[in-house]
């Protein structure tokens, strides 16, 4: 076991994976969102920069790279700077367990699903601390509200993951995809878990209709109202990376991962992932924003009991049939 070689391979793979994510996830994702938003509202998305506005996000990134970082006077500078790092790294770490193809997975952790849930729960710490460190009433409240929303939706997410792990009999994502090969896609077998997973995933990444904490009409800009320039972009990078990770996880758990008749595995995986990303973006422009108490009631009083009961039903069917 040559540790040096393994570390070099790991570093190379990490750099490749993160540039792919930063480019496809953040840059292309933002552009896709604005284009789809435009199309849904029958207006054109960004058109001016580059052909069909393709270079729009690159222009934004260059602009961000030389914008000044304003640190509020009474802010706690050390924590103020680490919060976006936590959110960005947590968003990027989900991708270790996601299988793009039969061999195209960074590492097939034996507890892949638990690792994915753990990384998703780390973002809350970054958001809370970011909101507190900027020492601004609005970002403090926004941080608290956003954190209470995200923790409320972590439970239904965990219930959906448990239901899929029960059906597949393993926690590793590769194992789940192979299990779906024999038993058929889990979207049919586990449809309630799929619905719960999608709703919880939308809420976990703070997207409409669950993006109240940073709603313009509510609290200035929620937890990142004091963040300017590239630090704000890091928060966005973390959230977009996590949105794509949720979509990729939904594909792995429910839509049979890379399995598909004709096309090569990776193409199938990306197709299904972008289908779910399109669904997430589609809901953004069509659903009204939920009030915070409706949003929390939906999670605690509907999704969590439904998730628990669905686990019991799945257990009942698997043991007795």
């Amino acid at each position: 076991m040559n540790w040096g070689l393994e570390i070099a391979k790991a570093v190379g793979l990490a750099v490749v994976m993160f540039t792919f994510l930063a480019v496809v996830g953040a840059m292309f994702g933002v552009l896709l969102e604005r284009k789809i938003g435009g199309w849904i509202q029958s207006r054109l998305g960004p058109k001016h920069v580059g052909p069909q506005g393709l270079l729009q996000t690159i222009a934004d990134t260059v602009k961000l790279l030389q914008k000044e970082h304003i640190t509020p006077r009474a802010a706690d500078v050390a924590i103020f700077n680490t919060a976006p790092l936590i959110v960005a790294v947590a968003g990027l770490m989900d991708w270790i367990v996601i299988p793009f193809g039969p061999t195209l997975i960074v590492r097939d952790l034996n507890i892949g699903v638990v690792f994915f849930a753990a990384m998703a729960s780390l973002t809350v710490v970054g958001i809370l601390v970011g909101g507190f460190a900027s020492n601004n009433k609005y970002s403090l409240l926004g941080g608290l509200r956003s954190a209470s929303q995200m923790i409320s939706y972590e439970l239904p997410l965990a219930m959906a993951l448990v239901a899929v792990a029960m059906q597949a009999g393993t926690l590793s994502t590769l194992g789940i995809v192979n299990a779906q090969a024999q038993r058929g896609w889990f979207v049919f077998l586990q449809f309630p878990a799929f619905v719960i997973f999608l709703i919880a995933a939308t809420a976990e990444v703070n997207r409409v209709p669950f993006d109240l904490p940073e709603a313009e009409s509510e609290l200035v800009a929620g937890y990142f109202s004091e963040y300017t320039g590239m630090r704000f972009a890091l928060f966005q990078l973390g959230e977009y990376a996590e949105m794509f990770a949720m979509a990729a996880m939904a594909t792995t758990l429910f839509l049979g991962g890379w399995r598909g008749p004709l096309l090569p595995p990776v193409i199938w995986f990306l197709l299904k992932m972008y289908l779910i990303v399109f669904f997430l973006m589609w809901t953004r422009w069509t659903f009204p924003r939920l009030r915070l108490d409706q949003l929390l009631n939906l999670s605690w009083k509907l999704l969590l009991p439904a998730g628990l009961i669905w686990i019991l039903i799945t257990g009942f069917f698997i043991t007795f049939f």
């Binding site: 507890i111 780390l122 923790i151």
Partner: protein, 163 residues
């Protein structure tokens, strides 16, 4: 060789961030440096081939308990950001006490001849934990759910304003 290097790095991360937790003036900074402590301990669990316990440690400790501690800090006087004296007057005494306990513990640990087991632990223990929990440790399993129920009810009664 690699394992020794990993052990040294991980225990260094754990102990250094634990020192920051213990001695930091700013309560939020000490709460935030709990997270690298828990990551260091997670790494130690991986070296001890306890992968599921490591995953749960990150999920529960770094994800849930730290969030709860940060919530309470923000809801109580931590939010005021006042520079309040964080340590009481027994600091030298408590340093002495902690040092004495440390010396005693390490002295005892180094001497006792721990029985060495011959067979080795399986690589992946998640399913092993499940079987152990559900077959011969069933009582532990059911009593823990009662403990969770009682803790939930007690904490709600204590924290809620008497309406």
């Amino acid at each position: 060789m690699g394992e020794l290097a990993a052990f040294i790095i991980l225990s260094a991360i754990t102990l250094v961030s634990a020192v920051v937790v213990v001695t930091s003036r700013n309560i939020v900074r000490s709460a935030l440096s709990l997270v690298p402590t828990f990551f260091g301990v997670t790494g130690l669990y991986i070296l001890l081939q306890a992968e599921f316990v490591a995953g749960i440690q990150v999920l529960i400790y770094a994800g849930a308990i730290t969030v709860l501690i940060l919530f309470v800090i923000m809801l109580t006087e931590g939010g005021t950001g006042l520079r309040v004296r964080q340590t009481n007057e027994q600091v030298p005494l408590s340093i002495l006490a902690a040092a004495v306990v440390a010396v005693l513990l390490i002295g005892v640990l180094a001497q006792t001849p721990w029985p060495r087991a011959t067979e080795s632990l399986p690589q992946y223990t998640a399913s092993g934990i499940g079987e152990a929990l559900l077959t011969n440790l069933v009582l532990v399993f059911e009593v823990t759910s009662l403990v969770l129920l009682v803790a939930l009810m007690g904490a709600i009664i204590v924290a809620r304003r008497e309406r």
